[in-house]
């Protein structure tokens, strides 16, 4: 059991973690990144569609700027986000794109001249200007006013991750792969690093650091059906939770995507439906027009996911060994269109299902699946936990609170690098102002505590010829996943959530008494999974209890028994913590003050109208903001913004962003 020292310890080697690591390493601090897998295999690579940043290079992006991006993000969040954070983010996003360009991302570029595109199922011609030729292109995405999503073909996350990982290698960041942080080392309210298990040889060590940064991604794999990579088990957030000091926020805010492939869960792009593809049920019947006569398959993501689930519940799903599903039919678009515009969808179907969706009458099995975790480790705008000093978090693992209760497409991969840039600067500042503390006894105690925990599990070894039925960790994991899918999914009700809470508590108890096949400390996936599933169960309980208590519907959190967004009572962040020895989390709330908002709560512009219980302050704040604008006709948009809602930002990112044709306006 060795002890290592570093200035910054970054847990998680995806885009967010690597970008923070680059910031601290460049500032001269010894930086160590731990990753479960080779960093270039992180789930960041799966971001396909693109990254939002208001470059406004394309003719379809003209007029875009930080203000428009900010408004889209706040509306998308259903007013659940931290608006100051949304401002920080939209200001830095264009800088992030340009930095990534310097690091080698081969963004798809604009070609000058006319081209045919499909907008609202209609063929339309757009003409790109000469001055934009060769600049970074952008495409249309849901919930955005402008074409703002910058992309590298359909492998945006991959090209970003390789560029950032190579930049980290170039800067000699210490990257240690196949390492799992299993416990945070802390005393009172200060974090000193983490206990780390080597997944290759099972050895335990401690990493002591001034600043510890958790960037381990989301918790999608708590659900039975998720588009997430298999490593997205939320164990980073659970590390923080298990301290009993650090807290999580908005865990019940979980996004579902309508069309994920069954059984693999690989995402089928929204473009399938955008181009005219339709959804069918077990009878081959097109059911969406019955539910949504106007928008049909092209209603917003949360609406389509809700309708599909409703239809499956009515018994109209297609039974399969992997559960009921529905059909996505793109064959009606014709082979020529598919092979030109939906090539990847076709390739995935051929590779994974052995079917060609361009063949007439061949349909793709799809079902809504968990897609994104808006909740995570509660941090302030600097990325630091307000409860456990020295602990930072960014990316999907954190609730920095950029996304509130619903995230916009293209804002997640953007958040990874942008929050990495911003929080990286704050981590540097923290390292400059703090000394590395060497409490080797503390480190040893935590390592021993973990080792004892392992020994207790390994003591319950059970030979291969004995059956262990419900005392098997994989059965417990699968039961948890099914509970989350069935009872804490897209639609939620009091009764089901209460059942889920009780059942999950039972599973948590059961998980203490599981049997294991091998008593080895290495080469033993059963041991690793036993440790992880216990963590996942705690997160599942946080999600469930938060969802049970939140008696309103906001963004992705949909309560059938409370269908309205209730600004009067629920404009608040859910804060969850876990005291050792308890069988469920403690839930508290943090108010979101309307009077500090730049954009007062209102109608999102999509979804059901008249579905809001308004807060009296909303109208008051709206008026106040209007007044400020009216009283200052000679001020520019930056000055006005500053008067309405000043926001913090590291100095190096405060400068204005240049745009083609208009300069720094």
């Amino acid at each position: 059991m060795k002890i290592f020292y570093t200035d910054t310890l970054v847990i998680g080697g995806g885009l967010a973690g690597l970008r923070v690591a680059i910031a601290t390493k460049k500032a001269g601090f010894k930086t160590t990144v731990l990753s479960l897998v080779p960093v270039k295999r992180s789930h960041s690579a799966a971001a396909q569609g693109g990254m939002q940043a208001s470059l406004a290079n394309s003719v379809m992006g003209k007029g875009d700027n930080e203000d428009v991006h900010f408004e889209d993000t706040v509306k998308g969040s259903d007013w659940g986000c931290d608006q100051k954070v949304a401002r920080m983010f939209t200001q830095v996003a264009p800088k992030a794109i340009r930095e990534l360009t310097a690091w080698g991302v081969p963004w798809t570029r604009i070609i000058q001249g006319s081209k045919e595109v499909i907008i609202n199922s209609q063929k339309t011609t757009i003409t790109e200007e000469l001055e934009s030729h060769g600049l970074i292109a952008s495409r249309d995405f849901g919930g955005t006013k402008k074409w703002r999503t910058c992309y590298t073909a359909d492998a945006t996350g991959h090209s970003m991750l390789y560029a950032v990982a190579n930049e980290a290698i170039k800067n000699d960041v210490t990257i240690l792969e196949k390492k799992e942080a299993v416990k945070l080392i802390y005393k009172d309210d200060v974090c000193y690093g983490a206990v780390v298990k080597d997944l290759m040889n099972g050895k335990i060590s401690a990493y002591l650091a001034k600043a510890t940064v958790i960037a381990t991604g989301g918790y999608g794999r708590i659900y039975e059906a998720s588009t997430n990579a298999v490593i997205c088990e939320g164990t980073g957030a659970a590390l923080a939770l298990e301290t009993g000091v650090a807290k999580l926020a908005n865990m019940e805010a979980v996004q579902f995507h309508p069309t994920a492939l069954v059984p693999s869960g690989i995402l089928m792009t929204e473009g399938c439906r955008g181009d005219g593809g339709i959804l069918r049920d077990v009878d081959g019947y097109r059911f969406m027009p019955d539910y949504e006569p106007e928008k049909k398959e092209l209603a917003s993501r949360d609406v389509v996911s809700r309708r599909m689930t409703e239809h499956i519940r009515k018994g109209k799903g297609v039974p399969s060994p992997y559960g009921d599903h529905l059909w996505l039919d793109i064959s009606i678009l014709g082979r020529e269109h598919i092979e030109k515009n939906l090539r990847d969808v076709q390739e995935i179907c051929i590779n994974f299902l052995g079917i060609d969706p361009a063949d007439e009458g061949v349909w793709i099995p799809v079902r809504p699946m968990q897609h994104y975790s808006m909740g995570g480790i509660k941090v302030d705008y600097t990325g630091q936990s307000p409860h456990l000093k020295g602990l930072f978090s960014c990316g999907e693992a954190a609730c920095w609170d950029l996304h509130g209760f619903n995230r916009l497409g293209g804002n997640s991969v953007a958040e990874t690098v942008v929050s990495g840039m911003i929080i990286g600067e704050y981590v540097v500042k923290y390292c400059q102002n703090h000394n590395l503390e060497f409490d080797t006894k503390l480190a040893n105690d935590f390592m021993k505590e973990f080792d004892t925990q392992q020994d207790m599990i390994l003591a319950r070894v059970c030979k291969i010829d004995q059956k262990f039925n419900d005392k098997n960790i994989y059965d417990i994991r699968d039961r948890m996943r099914k509970i989350m899918m069935d009872k804490v999914g897209i639609f939620r009700t009091h009764n089901e959530l209460q059942e889920a809470l009780d059942e999950l508590k039972e599973l948590l108890k059961l998980s203490d008494g599981v049997y294991i096949r091998s008593d080895m400390k290495s080469a033993n996936p059963g041991l690793i999974d036993t440790l992880r599933v216990k963590k996942m169960l705690k997160l599942a309980l946080c999600i469930t209890k938060g969802a049970l208590l939140r008696t309103e519907s906001r963004g992705a959190h949909t309560r059938e028994d409370y269908p309205k967004r209730d600004d009067e009572n629920w404009l608040k962040r859910t804060i969850t913590s876990w005291k050792d020895g308890c069988d469920e989390p403690i839930v508290e709330y943090e108010d979101i003050d309307i009077m500090e908002m730049e954009l007062a709560p209102g109608f999102r512009g999509y979804g059901k109208k008249g579905n809001i219980i308004e807060h009296p302050n909303s109208a008051k704040r709206l008026k106040e903001v209007e007044q400020i604008k009216q009283n200052n006709p000679d001020k520019d948009r930056f000055e006005i913004q500053k008067m309405i809602m000043p926001y913090p930002l590291p100095k190096k990112y405060q400068e204005k962003n240049e745009r083609v044709g208009i300069g720094y306006e």
């Binding site: 040889n201 298999v230 060994p321």
Partner: protein, 241 residues
């Protein structure tokens, strides 16, 4: 009832001094659309909790799950069990890379060393002001760079390489493709002379015997044959200077 599949899977824990490499047999029932990802997880969850293998994205984009399936290195996640007509499937770990256990190998350190060796990043003296408009890039050139940037470092090309078996220090197609990627990128200011220093020897582009196992097995269908030939012509020219 669908057919039964017989899996013969390499089992060996190099850390256990008493263990010997062996093929372990598992029988499972095939389900529609079953991939190696589904099958291996079924085996681990239901039949053998100790079986080691690696998956991350399970969508053919991260490169974690390369293994030798019935003699051919490929990505397990996007391989369907139905493509093996007799239902007999033998799984071995990729050769060349260090074995962690069973089907799990350590590509991380190999690939990191490779990246350092060829300095897999943009080399430039230009300073970028991130507040300013980015420099325009020819859209066609950007597409060409992206085509080579698609490599996922899965290791199939390296383990299918005859030269690599003979020359332990041979850089392999993954490295040569990376060099070609930066050579095609106008943002990288490295000259041919500088590239010659990196790949202009028998461990680089001149070691390749053109057996092209790399090109045959690349799951991303990268133009490895063309690019290695292109680099070799370029480097010959440079060497003759």
């Amino acid at each position: 009832m669908s057919r039964m599949l017989t899996f013969n899977i390499f089992k060996y824990n190099p850390l256990d001094k008493n263990d010997k490499p062996k093929l372990q047999t598992y029988e499972i029932e095939e389900t529609p659309g079953m991939t190696m990802f589904v099958a291996l997880n079924y085996i681990r969850d239901r039949l053998d909790h100790t079986l080691q293998f690696d998956f991350v994205c399970r969508a053919g984009i991260c490169g974690s799950c390369a293994m030798v399936i019935n003699g051919v290195p490929t990505l397990a996640c996007k391989t369907l069990t139905s493509s093996y007509k007799d239902g007999n499937i033998t799984l071995l770990p990729l050769p060349v890379f260090e074995l962690i256990g069973d089907l799990s190998i350590d590509t991380a350190n190999w690939m990191k060393d490779m990246s350092k060796d060829i300095q897999s990043w943009i080399h430039t003296n230009e300073q970028t002001d991130i507040n300013k408009l980015e420099k325009p890039m020819d859209p066609k050139v950007a597409d060409d760079v992206f085509e080579l940037d698609r490599c996922i470092e899965c290791g199939c090309c390296v383990s299918a390489c005859g030269t690599k078996r003979m020359r332990p220090n041979f850089k392999g197609a993954v490295a040569l493709n990376r060099v070609a990627r930066y050579e095609a990128d106008p943002r990288d200011q490295r000259t041919d002379e500088e590239l010659f220093e990196i790949i202009g020897d028998d461990n680089g582009v001149f070691g390749c015997m053109s057996l092209l196992g790399c090109d045959d097995t690349c799951p991303k269908h990268l133009p490895l044959q063309t690019k290695i030939a292109y680099l070799r012509r370029k480097m010959v020219k440079e060497g003759l200077k």
